[in-house]
């Protein structure tokens, strides 16, 4: 499939960048003519992945979070990458209600929310190497919309 557009951003793992990240991702995706609901879906999923990179990937340390976004006809791909502590057991981490930080009032619903609002969520991770969350969302179903 022909790639129509691509963008990358990189920012420090500060919580104040969470809103910056989701708004930027949504603004980039808006060229696909998504519905308001699809925009909110993208914002929410990006917010979850970026927050995880900040609080779990880097914990109290500072590091860089990267977002890559790719637009194909009718298809948006978002990658959220950190070089933090990684996830030892991805299957367990993705289970609803599983959290390694209950003391911070986390509910263990982040991955479930990402799966709810995106069509596909892939996680790759290495302990002490970092985590990459790749999410796919299909925007608009009509072929007429494609390739715009």
């Amino acid at each position: 499939m022909e790639k129509l557009n691509e963008m990358h951003i990189k920012f420090l793992s500060k919580s104040s960048n969470e809103s910056f990240a989701r708004v930027t991702a949504a603004a980039f995706a808006s060229q696909m003519d998504p519905t308001l609901e699809e925009i909110t879906d993208i914002k929410t999923a990006v917010s979850e992945a970026v927050t995880n990179a900040i609080i779990h990937g880097y914990e109290d340390k500072m590091g860089y979070v990267e977002i890559g976004a790719y637009i194909y006809p009718g298809k948006l791909v978002m990658e959220i990458i950190d070089r933090g502590k990684g996830i030892a057991d991805i299957e367990k981490a993705r289970q609803p209600l599983y959290t390694s930080k209950p003391e911070l009032e986390r509910s263990g619903m982040g991955f479930t929310v990402m799966e709810t609002f995106m069509d596909k969520v892939e996680v790759t991770s290495g302990v002490n190497q970092g985590t990459r969350v790749k999410m796919i969302k299909y925007i608009g179903s009509s072929t007429e919309k494609m390739g715009r």
Partner: protein
């Protein structure tokens, strides 16, 4: 994020305005917990009419406040939930502990305020 509240008998009605994420959750948490130092408050109603964004950080904030208020034998209710936030509440299973009321009057009545 703007948080405000008012007291109706033993019910604290909290209104949230803006975006609730990990960055702003701390402020909301501290604001409500400070109000809850008043031991005459038994129930909470969260009015999220003007909450323009929420992710799973909001679930954590709600469950945390529920734990405090349920120890007092009280309830946590929520009003003015939009369809997007409703979906997050649905998948998280939070409606098992937090009730979604049609409006403030219904919530207050259910909490014994007339």
């Amino acid at each position: 994020m703007q948080v405000s509240s008012r007291k109706r008998q033993d019910v604290l009605v909290v209104s949230l305005k803006g975006e609730l994420d990990h960055h702003t959750a701390d402020r909301v948490r501290r604001y409500i917990d400070h109000r809850l130092e008043n031991p005459t408050i038994k129930n909470i109603v969260m009015d999220i009419k003007n909450l323009t964004f929420m992710d799973s950080s909001g679930i954590g904030v709600l469950i945390g406040r529920y734990k405090i208020i349920s120890k007092r034998g009280g309830k946590l209710g929520i009003i003015n939930v939009n369809s997007h936030i409703d979906r997050i509440f649905q998948v998280s299973g939070i409606y098992r502990i937090i009730k979604n009321y049609d409006d403030l009057q219904q919530a207050l009545n259910d909490m014994g305020v007339y």
